[in-house]
Symmetry: C2
Subunit: 298 residues, 2 copies
């Protein structure tokens, strides 16, 4: 355990960390902030796995209060193993963090995004693509839902929110350190590459002609050996939800553009059983990704 | 169309409307604010339906800019039919509203919540219960997801966020005017009454022993006539997801309490296929409610 505790919230080092709240500083340094026990623990777990594999670190600076380390023994153990840990008091941690209360721990992490080619080379079965999603909370929620549904990667197209924005990082609840993320993809090129890698492409579109429930029913019926090929073509367009799929999710206000929809194999609507006119993009993405996961895994 | 336009943001009437941003004023007057075209349109549609049935109004004051009324002819038509419409400029509307930009329209609405008995008397098949959910955005998202999934009612237990909070109202995207809402229910009494009304009670619990996918599979197999009774009892605890169900969803930080979980027939986990440790409550509620809706309707 390091003996000296940082107590000056106006120290240069503290200011340098705090600057990562701005996109300019993040992009210049190719670093971002993880705040709070949940995010930092997942960063440290990834870091430990990478170091064990001789890969580049996932954490490069680490600041925590003694109270936090006492409260979370697993984090304390991982933190000490990095050799990076510096103790800091609550004023210093608050000055570093974007949140009012970083709950006693802050890490500086190198950006994690990977090239699209690397993702596609790993033969993914489920990819979530955010097309110009703007709200950091929505982006983080979709990334977390993609992780929950076992997606192999998440893509944010150019014009999307910065996933390294502190609010987005918080909303991922650590999933940013679990799922490969591809940034600033151009949608048409992305769809072409995904298709070449064997993925079908579905656009989530509330006005789409295909009903997600029909796709799920047909997938279940094929599993049970009972579907008629002609029925499938009539109702579900012949799309196999159990196959590898990239889902496109649109901007929260405008949805997918006509050009984006035209890129997909099919436009698929989540059924609305009540009187809601639409789902928010996070909710729609959750239902679509879980439908794919379920069809792929049963 | 009324001829005089309100232009003084410091007028008493404007201040009175603005005060509805506080819970104290809302509870004293039993009124709340709907802001923006989507929420106000749904309020006006409900109001028109109620007036046609000779029931109490759903809107009692209505303020809009000429630009907004020109842009949304359906809203203008509904607004004029109320006889309540007053024109206001953007400064007045901004002073009335909680949002920075109310997009040109604000309505004052009487509170909508109904007694639990009235909901249960209508023989509901799907109810979403929020147990001490604290974040207004989460509460609104769950209400909207419940509407989308065709739920018959939403219940907020005592200790939950005020659903009439402007941020919660916005997050419902109009669904607050679609789905009956019951407020301040005491969870144990609610569960007892729901059970007496023929509903099964499921607790959404990430650590629960039943897997939501198993419940869905068994429900589908019963539909197809292929399930073995003994298998069903072994895996899904014999619960029929196609039957009337009340789902309990817990506080975002702590989940459901042990006492709340103990009230349910079963504790059910949404499967986590990836490495996420948990789902946020809005995501979990969406998956659970859609699973019930799908089992009930196929």
């Amino acid at each position: 355990m390091p003996s000296e505790t940082m107590t000056n919230p106006r120290a240069d080092r503290v200011r340098d960390v705090a600057k990562l709240a701005t996109r300019t500083a993040r992009n210049r340094r190719r670093q971002f902030l993880a705040e709070g026990p949940q995010a930092v623990r997942e960063a440290l777990r990834l870091d430990a796995a990478r170091r064990a594999d001789g890969k580049e670190p996932a954490v490069v600076e680490l600041y925590a209060s003694e109270a936090c380390l006492s409260r979370y023994p697993e984090i304390a153990h991982l933190a000490e193993a990095t050799g990076l840990l510096r103790l800091a008091d609550d004023d210093v941690l608050a000055a570093m963090a974007d949140t009012v209360s970083p709950q006693g721990i802050v890490a500086v992490c190198p950006m994690l995004d990977v090239p699209l080619d690397a993702v596609l080379a790993a033969r993914p079965r489920l990819i979530a693509v955010m097309c110009r999603v703007q709200d950091p909370g929505n982006a983080g929620t979709i990334l977390r839902a993609a992780d929950s549904a076992g997606a192999d990667a998440v893509v944010l197209t150019s014009g999307s929110v910065d996933i390294y924005n502190p609010k987005a990082v918080r909303s991922t609840a650590g999933s940013l350190f679990h799922v490969p993320v591809v940034l600033a993809a151009e949608t048409a090129a992305l769809v072409e590459a995904a298709r070449a890698a064997g993925l079908g492409v579905l656009a989530a579109d509330g006005a789409g002609p295909l009903d997600l429930d029909i796709l799920q029913d047909e997938s279940a019926a094929r599993r049970a050996g009972g579907v008629q090929a002609s029925d499938a073509v009539a109702a579900g367009g012949g799309y196999r939800l159990e196959g590898p799929t990239a889902w496109l999710f649109g901007n929260e206000a405008q949805g997918l553009s006509e050009a984006e929809k035209a890129l997909a194999d099919h436009r698929v609507a989540v059924p609305l059983y009540g009187r809601a006119e639409s789902l928010n993009v996070g909710t729609a993405a959750t239902v679509c990704l879980y439908a794919s996961a379920r069809s792929q895994r049963r």
